[in-house]
């Protein structure tokens, strides 16, 4: 393997970092959104008549949980295309 230095090294590590950023960053939102939807299903089982309210709240809650996943995506894309 040839030596890798300077600008190339920065680029290589930035790309590796992009993968790690997106990978680790997706763990939290995935579990968090699952919690939201799971509890929404539980609530629906008890109060099916409130389905609209529960579904709406579930989607808002998931959208907010999703934000950190989007941060990871943005950071990953910056590392890939800008750095």
């Amino acid at each position: 393997m040839e030596a890798i230095t300077g600008q190339e090294l920065i680029r290589a590590v930035a790309l590796l970092g992009a993968g790690i950023a997106m990978g680790l960053g997706a763990i939290g939102p995935g579990i968090g959104e699952g919690f939201v939807a799971g509890k929404a299903c539980e609530a629906l089982g008890k109060r099916p008549d409130q389905s609209q309210l529960i579904t709406r709240t579930m989607i808002i809650g998931q959208a907010i949980s999703e934000t950190t996943g989007i941060y990871s995506l943005i950071v990953a894309l910056i590392l890939i295309f800008v750095v």
Binding site: M1, E2, I4, E8, R11, A12, V13, L15, L16, G17, A18, G19, I20, A21, M22, G23, L24, G25, A26, I27, G28, P29, G30, I31, G32, E33, G34, F35, V36, A37, G38, K39, A40, C41, E42, L44, G45, K46, P48, S51, I54, T55, M58, I59, Q62, A63, E66, G69, I70, S72, L73, A76, L77, I80
Partner: protein, 237 residues
């Protein structure tokens, strides 16, 4: 050439070693709940054991994906004069499938466990609970299918001679592998609670299945981000 074989053996171990964590815990969870339910309803033992085996079989899918990739890696024979960088592609493929199946395995076990709980409480609901469980588990497996896709792509493409590109490919494998853990567990949590709710209120199954699938689809979005980033790192960079 020996170096590539070294990498392929290491990647094979990582693929099946990491890849069996999730399924093993998930299946154990189903069996645990089945035993608990048997203690409450010994008369329903036939139904419980049958549904337990179906649930465990679906949960096993994640580990089977890892096994397939691991076997491909074990028997990988490098072509003469193949670039040494192919080794990193193989390592990345092993990491993608190994890490990527942890979530789907764990997630598949959760709805199976709550299905057992529901049957233990009311054995007459076993048919609809089984259907609900299989739908939930099938959606949960998407994260491991994404990981399998990325892994097979990495196994089959020709290596680049650019060292920067090699770093990008290892990053792509890690992005997909790690990124599939969370959504896999999250999908399982959704299906688990939906299954519990169906067990308590079987008449609302339509509404609950619909909400479950919507909830799982939203949970899956981060997984899709990971897939996109992974494919960009593999093909575009």
């Amino acid at each position: 050439m020996e170096t590539i074989t070294l990498f392929s053996i290491l990647a094979a171990g990582l693929a099946i070693g990491l890849g069996s964590i999730g399924s093993a815990i998930g299946e154990g969870f189903i069996a645990m709940k089945a035993v608990e339910a048997l203690g409450r309803q010994p008369n329903a033992s036939g139904k419980l054991i049958r549904v337990m085996i179906v649930g465990q079989a679906v949960t096993e899918a994640a580990a089977i994906f890892a096994l397939v990739v691991s076997l491909i890696l074990v028997f990988y024979t490098p072509e003469a004069g193949e670039s040494i960088y192919k080794g990193y592609y193989l390592l990345s493929a092993g990491l993608a499938i190994g890490l990527g199946t942890i979530g789907a395995g764990l997630g598949g076990g959760l709805p199976g466990g709550s299905c057992m709980e529901g049957i233990g409480r009311q054995p007459e609901n076993s048919d609809i609970l089984t259907i609900q469980m299989i739908v939930g588990q099938a959606v949960t497996q998407t994260s491991s299918i994404f990981a399998l896709t990325v892994s097979l792509i990495l196994l089959s493409i020709d290596p680049s001679n650019d060292i920067v590109k090699v770093f990008a490919v290892v990053g792509g494998g890690l992005a997909m592998g790690l990124g599939a853990i969370g959504p896999g567990i999250g999908d399982g949590l959704v299906a688990k609670n939906a299954n519990l709710a169906v067990g308590k209120n079987p008449r609302q199954m339509g509404l609950l299945t619909r909400t479950m699938v919507i909830g799982q689809a939203i949970t899956e979005t981060t997984d899709i981000y990971s897939l996109v980033v992974s494919l960009i790192l593999i093909f575009v960079v």
